[in-house]
């Protein structure tokens, strides 16, 4: 077996991985290899055929596929090496990546590895939806690939589960694929995207938004025929006929390689726990982008990739790997915070992203350690599936020998 070497190996050629590669090359790293199992680089935006990509990282707005292609071009132009059709299957005993490629099994050793493996939507089984197992039940990822990459028609009548940005993307994709979304459901009281999207969906596709509604069963033998919807407040159950069910959002990090590396996961995000420089608990292993926490928009992932490149450079320059960083935990109803580790010593505080499980208005958030308040902040609102950003000069005040840092809501109005 051939063992290659690189200064930095990046797993995943999506927005975060490609942006990290550009930054590493720009700042003088000799060999940067980006690995991706797909046939083309770009990650999820490759098949998200709507506009809105690139605003925060490239200062322009592009459709997903063009954004993906552009990001890949930037990485190549910067001198990064892209290896496609390359699946990382694990780690060897020396910590090198094990790869399967059409040219055989290879190993790649690197001074630093950046995991940028992204996330996926929870499928039907992971959501424990009862009923039969017919065809026609899919996530947005598969829907987009069927419609935009395979140019398939997907059915006639769809029900979309979820009411986030990605759910509206699914509506457009369904329309493009010849299906009409008759209903969109969320268990929350409100949709989580822009009001204009909702109004547009109702006007353009006649899609009815059903809030406080769960899909409780799937019916159909070979092909899905209907879904059973349950109104959570009244308990009322009814069926909606459909031949496509799209399960959107409910993202989960693709963290397999982090787990196999023995990196600690954060219980809130279920992604690898990291400090502000993207350092995991395993020396020389970094993580960036949506593997950290489930989906943020592509440009946010790219910015994080670029940011983590700074941590990688620091490591390559010989900076010691922090041992036993302080954990930052979230108290209910907060879901997660990233970064979620604060190392001792020199620390470049950035911003933390924070999510809630509930819709909250007029929120007071506090950051505490051992009963000591490090930071207090008001947030206009918190919406599940969308991050709030909190600045972290407080991180410098964390006692490296102290207990866990806890982020909690001290006061909020529930949105009803």
């Amino acid at each position: 077996m051939v063992t290659d070497r690189a200064d930095v190996a990046i797993v995943g050629a999506g927005p975060a991985g490609l942006a990290a590669a550009v930054e590493l090359r720009r700042r003088g790293v000799g060999s940067v290899v980006v690995l991706d199992r797909e046939e083309s680089a770009g990650g999820i935006p490759r098949h998200a055929c709507h506009s809105g990509f690139g605003l925060r990282d490239l200062r322009r707005v592009l459709p997903g596929p063009r954004y993906a292609a552009h990001r890949a071009e930037l990485a190549l132009a910067a001198g990064a090496e892209l290896r496609l059709r390359t699946q990382v299957t694990g780690w060897n005993a020396q910590g090198a990546l094990e790869l399967t490629t059409p040219t055989g099994r290879h190993e790649l050793a690197a001074d630093a590895v950046v995991l940028a493996t992204g996330c996926r939507e929870r499928p039907r089984a992971a959501r424990l939806i009862a009923g039969t197992r017919p065809q026609g039940v899919m996530n947005t990822g598969m829907l987009q690939q069927l419609v935009y990459l395979a140019h398939e028609r997907v059915g006639q009548r769809a029900v979309v589960v979820g009411a986030e940005h990605v759910s509206y993307s699914a509506l457009l994709t369904l329309h493009h694929g010849g299906a009409r979304a008759v209903a969109m459901t969320t268990e929350l009281r409100h949709q989580q995207s822009l009001a204009a999207f909702r109004v547009g969906a109702a006007a353009r596709f006649g899609t009815r938004l059903r809030t406080r509604t769960a899909v409780t069963a799937i019916r159909g033998d070979r092909r899905v025929q209907a879904v059973e919807l349950t109104a959570l407040d009244s308990g009322r159950v009814h069926e909606v006929e459909c031949d496509v069910l799209v399960l959107t959002a409910d993202w989960v990090p693709d963290h397999e390689l982090a787990v196999l590396a023995g990196a600690e996961l954060d219980p809130g995000t279920r992604g690898p726990a990291v400090d502000a420089m993207g350092r995991t608990s395993r020396p020389a292993l970094f993580a960036a982008g949506n593997v950290l926490h489930g989906a943020e928009p592509a440009d946010v992932a790219a910015l994080n990739g670029r940011h983590v490149a700074g941590g990688v450079l620091d490591h390559l320059a010989g900076s010691p790997w922090p041992l036993a960083p302080v954990r930052i935990m979230c108290a209910e109803p907060l879901a997660w915070i990233v970064p979620n580790r604060v190392p001792a010593g020199r620390y470049a505080p950035g911003r933390h992203r924070l999510r809630s499980r509930e819709e909250l208005h007029d929120v007071r958030v506090e950051v505490r350690q051992d009963g000591r308040c490090l930071h207090r902040q008001r947030l206009v609102r918190l919406v599940p599936g969308r991050s709030a950003s909190i600045p972290a000069p407080w991180a410098a005040a964390v006692d490296p020998g102290g207990g866990e840092v806890v982020v909690l809501v001290t006061r909020a109005r529930r949105w009803s």
Binding site: R37, T89, P102, R105, A125, A130
Partner: protein, 464 residues
């Protein structure tokens, strides 16, 4: 009778396929009929355990045939490449009543001719299964219980039968049976089929076929079992098959590793009316999670990869309904509840002997059965994606298509060109593992469908 088969076997599940393979050793013209694909009915959804039969009711046919079938399938699996791992089982007692029941279960195992079941100490139990929930009070070890691939065995048997000349008629539903002067006429969705003998291995529908043949004696009431499959990252939590202690009051559920590297939790047991009702229920899934929370709390922290429900073909009788009627030229292998996979090869031997006894002339074919080698879809041995020498020969084994399960283009192509190729995505799933992983098609669903269409010539419109 020219044009007639000597034997028509109805049902290409575990039992029917194993019988077809057994009879294919002889100079017989055989048809194996199934309304769908090989192993696509009850056989596809079980707990994937190869039982020793230690806990069967002594003296029954089931006890004898499971014990024999365990030996036969263990050897056969090694021969043809059916994924199997001898993990052993631990019957875990959670209260005094269950603890007191263990010695009697060990005694019953000895009555069944199995003498390797032994009580183990509590600290030994937790040493072997450190992630077991708190509160276990004792355990009985059954070292020969194994986990096995549920999908490969019937395909291996049917493939071997087909290569030996058996006509494998898939997509052929039997709707009527009539006795002519010297043979049976099977009315099927694919036209009439004539055969001197009919062997009923129709699983859930074995009672209906039995009545079509003019016989009475048993009724199948499907017993639904729901199961939850956990992510591969949970696999290190479990070393053995963890069985409940049957006490008559609660059935309990088991936790078992799978040969694919996942962890199973289940099954529930619920008698239902509809033989097609393979739906999971909210109640069933909630009950399983409640069991799991006690048996192995850490398991529930892991993602769920799949949920499914299987239907056991249970009859009102405690034992298998095996019978051969020489006068009628009819044989039945029905009422095989949940041990069909374990016992199948022994049932096939039984059937062979009974048919011979009832007048079916068995003359061995020259050369015996053709050998087959099934694709390895288990984790115990290296799979194609991990085999450098194989990729060097054929780069298609280095093109991973289904990322979660690491199924390569080469394997999809091989399945499409195999003796019994898949006819839809579900068939491809059972032959290669595609789409059975944690993303359930998020990343690769469209691509897999496209490759099957390309390699298998199957209309993509029917695949989604």
């Amino acid at each position: 009778m020219s044009g007639a088969f000597d034997v028509a076997i109805i049902g290409a599940g575990d039992v029917g396929s194993a019988i077809a393979r057994e009879l294919a050793r002889y100079e017989l013209r055989i048809a194996l009929l199934d309304r769908g694909d090989v192993g696509a009915g009850t056989s596809k959804a079980n707990t994937a355990i190869l039982h020793t039969g230690f806990d069967a009711k002594p003296g029954t046919l089931e006890a004898r045939l499971v014990a024999r079938g365990h030996r036969l399938l263990s050897d056969y699996a090694a021969q043809v490449g059916i994924p199997i791992e001898r993990t052993g089982a631990l019957l875990v007692a959670w209260d005094d009543e269950q603890l007191e029941a263990l010695p009697a279960i060990g005694e019953r195992a000895r009555e069944n001719g199995y003498d390797r079941a032994a009580l183990i100490a509590l600290d030994d139990l937790y040493r072997r299964e450190p992630h077991l929930g708190a509160g276990a009070v004792g355990a009985l070890e059954v070292p020969d219980e194994s986990i096995v691939c549920p999908w490969t065995p019937p395909l291996a048997w049917a493939t071997q039968a087909l290569l030996a000349g058996v006509a494998v008629l898939r997509g052929t539903r039997v709707v009527g049976l009539s006795r002519l002067a010297d043979c049976w006429r099977l009315d099927t969705s694919g036209g009439p089929v004539l055969a001197r003998w009919v062997v009923n291995a129709a699983g859930l529908y074995s009672d209906e076929v039995h009545r079509m043949a003019g016989c009475e004696g048993f009724t199948i009431t499907p017993r639904r079992g729901e199961l939850v499959v956990f992510d591969k990252l949970a696999r290190p939590l479990v070393s053995h098959i963890l069985l409940p202690v049957p006490t008559g009051i609660t059935k309990g559920v088991l936790i078992a590793p799978t040969v694919f590297g996942n962890v199973l939790l289940g099954p529930t047991a619920e008698d239902i009316e509809d033989k097609e009702d393979r739906a999971c229920t909210s109640e069933g899934l909630a009950r399983l999670r409640a069991h799991g929370a006690r048996l192995m709390p850490e398991l529930l922290d892991h993602e769920v990869t799949a949920t499914y429900a299987g239907l056991r073909a249970a009859s009102e009788h405690a034992d298998y309904q095996l019978q051969v009627d020489g006068g009628l030229a009819y044989a039945c292998a029905g009422g095989i509840r949940s041990t069909g996979l374990s016992a199948a090869m022994a049932i096939a031997e039984w059937m062979r002997d009974a048919l011979a006894g009832a007048g079916l002339a068995l003359a061995e074919r020259a050369g015996g059965l053709p050998m087959v080698r099934m694709p390895n879809i288990g984790e115990a041995l290296p799979r194609p994606y991990a085999r450098d020498e194989l990729i060097a020969e054929d780069p298609a084994y280095g093109k991973v298509i289904c990322f979660c399960e690491r199924v390569t283009l080469g394997e999809i192509r091989d399945a499409a060109r195999s003796a019994i190729p898949p006819r839809d995505l579900d068939g491809l799933r059972r032959r290669t593992r595609v789409l059975t992983g944690r993303c359930q098609g998020f990343f690769c669903g469209a691509r897999v469908a496209r490759e099957l269409a390309r390699e298998g010539g199957i209309d993509i419109g029917g695949l989604r």
